[in-house]
């Protein structure tokens, strides 16, 4: 890319995106610049606009254009139920199930001491405040810990449970187990033992 410093900067910028490696970044950059029909202006406007208009909700930290967000300000949502998720995208996924009628709290990540991420780097203090001194019409009775079922997510859930229980609130964890439509013989031992531990009466 000698003699193309602007192009190199574009590739470098694209490479910082999640899931984009050096090869994909180059392919995207070539596509953006070489395809004559490609409307770069529309992309840059959309990007700038989205960036300017969306911010994090002051209550739940999910992405929103109006503060507080649509879910936090919806009176029909069950204020007694609060789901704690790692990222705004996770709240979105839960929302698509149409099963959950409570509200959300986005942590903004998970505990990872080896990468220097501690409780102070996550939205933990607000979560505790939200449970301890509820806003009018909220009054949390149950906190559903919906962090990811990996090492960091599990540690985060255990940590939050330790902090939340003294506040006299019910703390639950999303069930871990077999994926729907799968066969037992293909489940790994850990998943299978987790689903045995979390079995329920029918």
């Amino acid at each position: 890319m000698a003699g193309l410093p602007a192009f190199a900067r574009l590739v470098a910028a694209l490479e910082t995106l999640p899931g984009i490696g050096p090869k994909s970044a180059r392919r995207l950059a070539y596509h953006l610049l070489a395809a004559p029909e490609y409307d770069t202006a529309a992309l840059t406007t959309a990007l700038a606009e989205a960036r300017a208009r969306t911010r994090s909700c002051s209550v739940c930290h999910a992405l929103t254009e109006a503060d507080p967000c649509a879910i936090c300000s919806d009176p029909s949502r069950d204020g007694r139920l609060l789901a704690v998720v790692e990222d705004a995208a996770d709240a979105d996924v839960l929302e698509r199930t149409h099963e959950f009628r409570g509200r959300y709290h986005v942590l903004g990540g998970a505990l990872a001491p080896l990468r220097g991420i501690g409780p102070d780097d996550l939205n933990v203090t607000d979560l505790l405040a939200r449970v301890e001194s509820p806003a009018p019409g909220e009054g949390v009775e149950e906190v559903v810990l919906a962090t990811n079922p990996n090492v960091e997510g599990e540690s985060t859930a255990l940590y939050l449970a330790r902090r939340l229980k003294p506040l006299g609130v019910k703390v639950t964890r999303l069930a871990l187990g077999l994926p729907v439509g799968a066969a037992l013989e293909f489940a790994d031992e850990v998943t299978l033992s987790r689903s045995l531990a979390g079995r329920r009466e029918i």
Binding site: P113, L114, G118, P119, V151, S155, Y159, R162, R163, E189
Partner: protein, 388 residues
Amino acid sequence: MEILTLSTDGFRNLANGRVELHPRVNLIVGDNGQGKTNLLEALALVSGRPSFRTHDLAETRQHLAARAVVSVRLRDEGGAPRNVTTLGFVHASGAREQYRDGKRVPRLTAARSLPAVFLTARDLSRLSGPPAERRRALDRAALARRPEHARALLAYERARAAKTRLLSLGARFDADELAVYEAALAEAGGLVAVARREARASLEREIVRHADDLGTPFRNISLELVSDLPASGDAREMGGALEALLRGRKSEERRAQRCLVGPHRDDVLLRADGVVVASRASSGETRTFLLAWTLAEMSMLAGGERRAPLLAFDDFDSEWDPRVLGAFAEALPEEGQVCLTSARPEAVRGLPLPAGSIYRMAAGRLAREGILGAGRSPENRAAAGGPR
């Protein structure tokens, strides 16, 4: 389990391309620095094991090569010729990848696909050196018995790293956060402790049997696990004991800013007549015990996987006298592939090795040089073979 071919590309000084291996014994001879040990290292990496030479795998990549690649084609015992599995190892841009039949797999899957025991220069200090190598050897035995031991070990090490990190923050860490990692330590530590105690018993039994095969003058050989945790109990009890120990040393650990108790401090001592072998036996006798330990690991792998493991023995004639090597050759299991390296082709003369091929390694190129006759006596073969 039998390696049919080994291919490398951009790996150390080995010539790019493919070599065929003999199903039984492969003796690789050549002067120092020609690539004999590199070939064994390639086998270690492709089978998901750590390198016995370096922590920095970037060293295995040839100068100017974009990546180091090793692959082997394997055939299952008694399997049809078409029943072939391919294992692959790739090291590129700082990351290690393992493949099986073209699909990315965890290292443990690669290790289970190709059970193998390595004996190299690094192992010579196992009995007399620091405890880490002995712990690793015990963990290999535990893995041969139960592959899920790997998961507990990893969980333990992760929790320990997280806890150490928090302790290193001094007074600024969150006590609830520390408690989370201590709970994880206790849970995983309990599993590790139980697996090591079970493995110790089987390993001791196998070492005693093989030390006898090799004609050691010692009797009353035992393998002792030196541990902060109790000698017996189930995973829950061990975990509870570890929790109690952690509570007791809490303030000490905060001062030291690291983990002071737990299975990461375990040691394994091999004793003969009550005395630690490394301190009492001559160095030659100590090395004989190392051969017994190697045979013991092979038996455990064969028992766990019901497949004879590969034995890779680097510089096999340099540290042992011919009598012990003869007994070792006789004690080799009836099946399973063996790769031996030596600087002296005449080293195998008179050794009762099974049939095989002799190769010469020169400047990274392996060329077949001759055949190795079956030198085993029928009565010894009967004594060494068969299910025990």
